[in-house]
Amino acid sequence: MSQIIAKNFNLYYNNFHALKDINVTINEHMITAMIGPSGCGKSSFLRAINRINDTIEGVTTTGQINVLGQDIYNKKVNINALRRNVGMVFQRPNPFPISIYENVAFGLRVNRILTKKNMIDIIVEKSLRDVLLWKDLKDKLKKSALNLTLEQQQRLCIARVLAVEPHIILLDESCSSLDPVAVQRIEELMLKLKDQYTIVMVTHNMQQAARISHDTIFMLSGNLVEFNTTKNIFSKPIKRETQDYISGKYG
């Protein structure tokens, strides 16, 4: 089954046409990578999937994006519920300036999804275990999240998203501020998570896309140029532009 379907989707920043007629069907329980040169609209598209673009003034859209069988640009959609279903991890780790525990529990608490302390404890532990932080941090849960290493912070941000039990996780160059060892370990984490979640990730790093994604979307100046399995994109791309980008012509 497919979980994200874009149909003739356009996005404008005021008069600037940033996404042009995007049509794509992203599959469930897979990692889909989005590649393309800087400024081609990767983030814009990713941020359209949880409607976080709405927070920017002057953004307008046409067309549809269906997420979990629902047109998310329909007026009746509950945006907050949508965003709980579609979690997002940003480029720079951005934990809240509160304790590690409170970071993970934040989404549950504020929305009163859970109120009993022991229930929240269970979810916090499970989320931290899923991102492989539990062992290191279980005695430091009360400490500020800002004292963690960048890698730990980024894992914590993933745990924070997992705690509200989304179906889809969007990652926007979430490894770019990490060192190579940390990148590798986050990649392992993503491979583990894809069994339970649908993952869409933007990356500048083509090796990374090749290593861990099943499908790849190639974008160029607001157009979706090619969508195919990663294997095909990297071994026998159909479009000329894809070929050029893969071989490094755009730098």
Binding site: A81, F106, R160
Partner: protein, 279 residues
């Protein structure tokens, strides 16, 4: 002529240091003067007896109630207005005009606010010369300052926190309440501390709206007029002959202590928020 870098470095250091000394010397001197002359007069009797017995108790109560009332009014109004302007308002012409107006309001001389308060609160609203009229006038005067400092404090909260919160499915208001406001609180309270200090010492806005030359009894409600420390100080030092210097300095010192005490609450609150939120 070219001065060598080492010399110019030392020269600039000296000049900056001297200017700083010049700036703080008067303050230190005033403090010293007030404390030295005021302390001997700062007896329990002076602080707690009525005016006819040579005390300043009514003025203390007056200043205290006016300041507390106006902070109770101006703090929530100012902070909510700042939240609206910073977190909700679209960037259009109207918002720009409002922001411009706020900046300009902060530059109006305080006596103008006094006259404004006289015509609106005292006369038009028929609140009379009273604590509430004075407090409202001071609130109006301090509102632009509170809004501006609160907006700066809100602005200083990194945008990435808001984005992370919204992306977790929090509503805009939840984001403000649980993320933005707690992180902006230290900054907002710093602004409030300065406002309290300014409000406590102002004479002009309450001259026509709240302060009385002499009231033989304590205020019974917020609709009574009161004596206040700054006005009392002004009256006793200019209008009443042969008042001993120590009484004047005692009054000044009391005013100083009240300002510091009220500010202390804000400082403690700020420390509390600082300790709990850090980034």
């Amino acid at each position: 002529m070219k001065i060598n870098p080492k010399l110019s470095q030392q020269l600039s250091y000296c000049i900056l240091f001297l200017v700083t000394i010049c700036a703080i010397t008067p303050v230190v001197f005033i403090f010293f003067l007030i404390i030295k002359n005021g302390v001997p007069n700062l007896t329990i009797k002076f602080l707690t007896s009525m005016t006819k017995d040579g005390g300043i108790f009514p003025a203390i109560i007056g200043t205290f109630t006016i300041v507390v009332c106006s902070i109770i009014i101006v703090f929530p109004v100012g902070v909510f207005a700042a939240i609206y302007l910073n977190e909700y308002a679209k960037r259009n012409l109207l918002t720009r005009l409002i922001k411009l107006a706020i900046v300009n309001l902060a530059g109006i001389p305080s006596v103008v606010y006094g006259l404004f308060g006289l015509s609106i609160f005292v006369m038009f609203c028929k609140l009379g010369v009273s604590i509430i009229s004075g407090a409202l006038t001071l609130s109006i005067m301090e509102l632009p300052v509170i809004i501006t400092t609160a907006r700066n404090a809100l602005n200083n909260v990194p945008y990435s926190f808001r984005e992370a919160s919204l992306a977790l499915g929090m509503s805009r208001w939840q984001t403000v309440k649980y993320i933005v406001l707690p992180n902006a609180m230290p900054g907002i309270l710093t602004g409030t501390i300065l406002s309290i200090a300014r409000i406590s010492g102002e004479t002009a806005p309450i001259l026509f709206t709240a302060a009385a030359f002499y009231v033989p009894h304590l205020p019974h409600s917020i609709f009574d007029q009161v004596m206040t420390l700054p006005y009392h100080l002004y009256i006793t030092s200019t209008q009443v002959p042969c008042v001993s210097k120590t009484i004047l300095f005692g009054t000044a010192l009391t005013l100083l202590i009240i300002v510091l005490t009220i500010s202390l609450f804000a400082i403690i609150a700020r420390l509390y928020f600082r300790r709990h939120r850090k980034w």
